[in-house]
């Protein structure tokens, strides 16, 4: 008995449940097989025709969508290296600012003696005036008078 055409079409399209399709395949007549063969040829022909037609018409979705999008100014693109450099500069600057403020505003500041030697006289061969740093990095003036024993009897 020949299978109904709609059922044969569903079998061809793999739309039947697997057990039903399996049972149906066992009962196919020669006529049904020929119909399935014809369906396969028709399907192949249609697929080839549609593909050839689509190839001749290039689909351009962007041009139609772009016109519908709201107008925006182009985004500013910052190279990653420059962006990192900017951030580093900002962080270093902020740290430098904080450090300098701490240095300038710390309690007891200014601690620098700012010593000025206006006069200096010594006996003997002379003296050396030098700067030595204190705990805050400020300079303390040191007058080094290299006193020799023979200077004991001299006087200014």
């Amino acid at each position: 008995m020949a299978v109904a055409d709609d059922k044969l079409q569903r079998l061809f399209d793999n739309e039947l449940p697997s057990d039903e399709a399996e049972a149906l395949r066992r009962d196919l007549s020669d006529e049904d097989l020929l119909k399935l063969e014809a369906l396969a040829e028709l399907s192949e022909t249609v697929r080839g025709t549609v593909s050839a037609e689509a190839a001749t018409h290039e689909l351009d979705l962007w041009s139609s969508l772009a016109d519908k999008l709201p107008q925006q100014s182009p985004a500013q693109v910052i190279p990653l290296r420059r962006k990192i450099l900017r951030r580093t500069t900002a962080i270093v600057s902020a740290l430098a600012l904080a450090a300098s403020l701490v240095f300038a505003l710390r309690p007891g500041s200014p601690g620098d003696s700012n010593c000025e030697i206006e006069e200096l006289e010594v006996v003997g061969t002379g003296a050396t005036v030098m700067k030595v740093a204190d705990e805050r990095g400020n300079d303390t003036t040191l007058i080094w008078f290299d006193h020799q024993e023979e200077d004991e009897w001299e006087s200014l």
Binding site: R87, D112, S113, E116
Partner: protein, 179 residues
């Protein structure tokens, strides 16, 4: 794409940082500006008030490694390159002097030496309180050293080099104005 907040403030922050880093140098430079006080060092006692000075007499030697705990305020200076030949520092005496403007006070030093510290008055400059002092070191009647200097209020000046007991004597003089 918007600018990052940090990136936006980078330049102003850099300018601020450079400006504030320059502040200590500017203030130091101002302190070195010509003094408005008379240079003869003869301020009247009323105008000068008095100076309160702490004179530390220190013995520095190369024998031992002890560091007198009372010398902590001067540790950075004493442990610096200028005193690299010495490893032991002892506070022999600390004199607290109150010196009226135009007056002087003596203080004892080991080895029959004597120190004389005179307060010659204020020498303010650029809004900074500064003191003009004279230090003399005597050996009996002989004057070995005489120096006149100006320091910030609360500042310290050091003198060293007098030979004493296998080492040298170091003076640490810190003065501030009072009254």
């Amino acid at each position: 794409m918007g600018k990052s907040v940090i990136g936006k403030w980078a330049s102003p922050l850099a300018v601020l940082a450079l400006f504030s880093l320059g502040l200590p140098q500017v203030s130091a430079a101002q302190a070195d500006a010509p003094k408005s006080a008379p240079s003869d060092g003869k301020a009247s006692p009323d105008a000068a008030g008095k100076a309160v000075c702490s004179v530390r007499v220190i013995h520095a030697t190369a024998n031992g490694t002890d560091f007198d705990a009372r010398l902590e305020p001067l540790r950075p200076q004493l442990k610096g390159q200028a005193f690299q030949s010495f490893t032991r520092f002892a506070l022999l005496k600390q004199h607290e002097l109150s010196i009226a403007g135009g007056a002087s006070q003596n203080f004892d030093m080991p080895g029959e030496h004597q120190g004389v510290l005179a307060y010659e008055g204020r020498a303010d400059a650029s809004g900074k309180h500064r003191l003009r002092l004279r230090l003399e070191i005597q050996d009996g009647k002989a004057k070995l050293l005489s120096t006149k200097f100006v320091i910030n209020d609360g500042g310290t000046v050091m003198q060293a080099g007098l030979k004493y007991d296998k080492g040298v004597l170091v003076l640490g003089i810190t003065c501030r104005s009072a009254g």
